[in-house]
Subunit: 453 residues, 2 copies
């Protein structure tokens, strides 16, 4: 029996393709609808916002999609990322389970986000994009796209959710270091932002609002495109290099997960790890329990409705069928800014609806408690978002202990908390507010959902 | 010709020994003197502060010292660290030189410091130490020792230089996350701290003061030892795993450095990379130019005196011969807290005196400018301290360009700047004060040097 703690894949074995779960879905995804006609949209409807290569990936049914060689060259700066066996955490929990984690914090900006940022910047560059607009919650996405745009020399405007803009100044500075412009959202630069600030000058922002602002700015200009860090099919697909690597690394460990855990905001880090394993489940009947961990303050999968809704607050995006709390719902401000989105990726929602994914919601205090326990055992301080996955994995391991089961658990540690230490400070100083999910507010927002047969 | 950018050593090839340059010095180091008797000190004099294993390493003449297996197991969490070819930086500079960098930011706390923190915690644990006291400048060392003490279940008190304690709250929180106690220095907990605060309540602290406080607390208690993050021979030696790995990685690249660059505060990251190469120079006559980069605000090697001095402000440590600005010199506060020390490691000072090391001093603005250039080319934001090495490497590359020389440059990127983004913010907002080295103050401090024949 090996006592290894790190499974490091050779660079030469880095996957050359992304995995597209659309090819293996037991039931196809519901179509994306045009907000005006309510008819399924076509590539031309998306062309003002995205380069054609990405639109093609969004609707592709091919199982494997090649990762372009220039993208792989950039990935090699930090990929393949390590897979760890959490032996010290297992010991601290005195569990019968084995715990592994894939660690995406080794990337230049400390999270999984560069996996898709680099790909999106590359395809945009190929098609002549001069400028990209985007939104960011906690700033993980904005800083990652800033890193990617710096490589490809594309100008970048980032609309950052105001509460995070103020709470996490380091993220803003890292974007600036990479040459990007970063604006607090809602801003006075866009019609949506202006309208919101007129009604509520102290609005702390949300991902839904920031998306509206970024989309508006991109739609105005032929050489400006829009980029999203999660939710969309092609974004989730770019993250599957995580799971493709993990499958090989679990083989190196001569093991296979019984339980897979990830945290879900828009769904991208979760899908990146889970989809390749779910694909094996669908194709090879390899059983696996897949747990999606979300915050109690924004419980999209556990309390939302599976229905057609807008991706943004300004109701400018196409309509997608997803788990949603309503596009006008304003999630309370927490330190897990990256999980603060009213909706969920259509693919994750669809798979949850099919029973392939089991959602769980956690409060932020219990998540930070799990994060501190993990840091003391494994030496890595998880990002606030990632503490939800840590909490889910620890709970699963304790369940195994209770039942004397020797199960194998694998979770995605999607980022480190270096830029979010204020959150840990607030936790230690008992300043963390409890999760103030307002069900009445969500119900009101859900009543405003577009009526679609 | 390979176009690789990353040279990754297999875990099985991780060095099993540290390199002790004492074995290869052309001229032996001057002895350490007892501050009372002015006679060379013996192991018993150091026993109240350090475990015997480390005292043995401090004076050892053996060329190779074995890295204990439990220490290597912990190293494997992040080691071997990658060596990169900075192809994008070379292109941005349009230089004829080749630039490589060893990247120590992959460690759990983001710098080279855990290399010695883990070793020191291990040897302390072996000899029954219950508690360790230490000082920290920017917090890189304190957070690294907190990480190591968390693994070995040793209590830790950290005296953090006040200006950094206030400037870099994230570092304090990461120490807290790892279970350490962190106090702003000068503090009211120690005689030295109290005396300084009485005279100057707004004193912003210095490494010299923080060392006095930590040493005082350790000397009071049999089960409490003291730990230093740089300067001492054994600390520098623990860092040589960096250079030992780099030698193998340069072989993988089928190349060898003509010029080696590192930044120097106490001297540990610099020595970690440079000593194994200097050893080859002394033994095999392999020529190499070694550049030590220090801040103009605290120019120990370029403007200090090579003389016997105290390691601390309180004049409690033994006397060592080193380049010093005087133990009572108070360096101005800059963002490179880790380089803000009145002295320099005796080994680095000695080798500089012998002409084996060439020191250069840089201002903080030009260093941040180099750091931003590096980040935009290579995607990694360097720690403020590390920007000095970046600046030194860029200058060397531009010199090669001017002369049309195809030299090979290797520098140590000893840490990332994730916890120091405020410094970049201040740089962008033109808030960085210029380097206010006060030569008159240093001269006054130098007059107070102990008179030793």
């Amino acid at each position: 029996m090996s006592d290894k703690i790190k499974y490091f894949l050779e660079e030469s074995k880095m996957p050359k393709t992304w995995y597209n779960i659309a090819a293996d879905l037991p039931k196809p995804l519901s179509p994306v609808l045009h907000p005006g006609t309510l008819k399924p949209i076509g590539p031309d409807d998306l062309a003002p916002l995205f380069p054609m290569a990405l639109i093609g990936q969004e609707v592709s049914q091919d199982r494997e999609i090649e990762i372009p060689e220039p993208v792989r060259e950039i990935y090699k700066q930090w990929r393949p990322s390590p897979l760890y066996r959490a032996r010290k955490l297992e010991k601290a929990l005195d569990t019968t389970a084995k715990i592994y984690y894939k660690y995406e914090g080794v990337s230049p900006t400390g999270s999984h986000k560069p996996n898709t940022a680099v790909a999106q910047a590359f395809f945009n560059k190929e098609e002549g994009t001069k400028k990209i607009t985007t939104e960011t919650g906690a700033g993980q996405w904005g800083s990652s796209l800033a890193f990617a745009c710096s490589i490809f020399k594309i100008e970048l405007d980032v609309y950052m959710v105001k509460v995070s803009y103020e709470q996490k100044p380091y993220r803003k500075m890292i974007m600036q270091t990479f040459g990007a412009n970063c604006y607090a959202s809602p801003s006075n630069r866009t019609p949506t932002g202006k309208a919101i600030l007129e009604k509520d000058p102290n609005n702390t922002g949300s991902l839904g609002i920031a998306i509206s602002e970024a989309v508006e700015m991109a739609a105005q200009d032929d050489h400006t495109k829009y980029s999203l860090g999660s939710v969309l099919n092609h974004v989730l697909m770019h993250q599957t290099i995580v799971g493709n690597e993990a499958i090989m690394q679990m083989e190196m460990a001569d093991d296979y997960p019984d339980i897979l855990v990830g945290c879900t905001g828009g769904g991208s880090n979760f899908s990146g790890l889970a989809f390749p394993f779910l694909g094996k489940k669908f194709r090879e009947k390899k059983d696996i329990k897949v747990i999606a961990c979300e915050p109690k303050s924004c419980p999209t999968l556990t309390k939302g409705k599976f229905a057609y809704d807008f991706g943004d607050t300004g109701m400018r995006t196409p309509l997608v069928k997803m788990h949603t709390l309503g596009s006008s719902f304003m999630p309370p401000s927490t330190h897990s800014g990256g999980l603060r989105y009213h909706g969920m990726a259509p693919l994750v929602s669809h798979l949850t609806d099919l029973g392939a994914i089991e959602p769980k919601a956690f409060g932020q205090k219990e998540c930070f408690e799990a994060g501190v326990k993990f840091a003391n055992a494994e030496g890595i301080v998880p990002a606030p978002e990632a503490t939800h996955a840590v909490k889910g994995a620890i709970d699963a391991a304790l369940e195994c202990k209770k039942n004397g089961e020797k199960k194998t658990i694998l979770f995605n540690l999607c980022g480190h908390g270096h830029f979010d230490m204020q959150a840990y400070g607030d936790y230690f100083n008992n300043k963390l507010s409890d999760d103030r999910y307002n069900e009445a507010d969500a119900n009101k927002a859900l009543e405003k959902l577009p009526k679609i047969a």
